[in-house]
Subunit: 83 residues, 2 copies
């Protein structure tokens, strides 16, 4: 199954699956009542931003069949080359 | 492309895509040096655990082609039915 995930990761931006990308997906069944979900999403984004120190974050929410997804694509800042 | 993601979400556990599941995936190119990635993963898991208040968390790490993925499946505790 992970290969399907691999295809999705490659596929969503196969044209420009740049090296400097980090992707995060949060998915859940829409019918499940999660009163905290928006707060949790914000806090996860804050953690990612804290570590990646980037401002280039693309956030997409989607509703597909009965699944809600939060897709976050983080453009990583250029890293100093390893010595 | 999200439909491919939708298939993956369904597919990974199509047999038992139970309602009470929350899935989180973190994916990045393995060649990219992310010294903070383990710390960030821990902190994201801590955020998820804080909000979901669950102990039933299944964490899988995978290496596929040139992509490393962290797949987290959270079994949500039964919610009190909405009044």
């Amino acid at each position: 199954m992970t290969s399907l995930l691999g295809k999705w990761l490659k596929g969503t931006s196969s044209a420009h699956i740049a090296k400097d990308r980090l992707k995060l997906v949060l998915a859940y069944e829409r019918s499940v009542r999660l009163p905290y979900i928006e707060e949790m999403k914000k806090e996860i984004l804050a953690v990612v931003q804290k570590y990646t120190q980037t401002s280039k974050i693309d956030v997409r929410t989607n509703s597909n069949h009965d699944i809600d997804t939060l897709e976050v694509e983080i453009v990583l800042e250029k890293q100093a080359p390893t010595s």
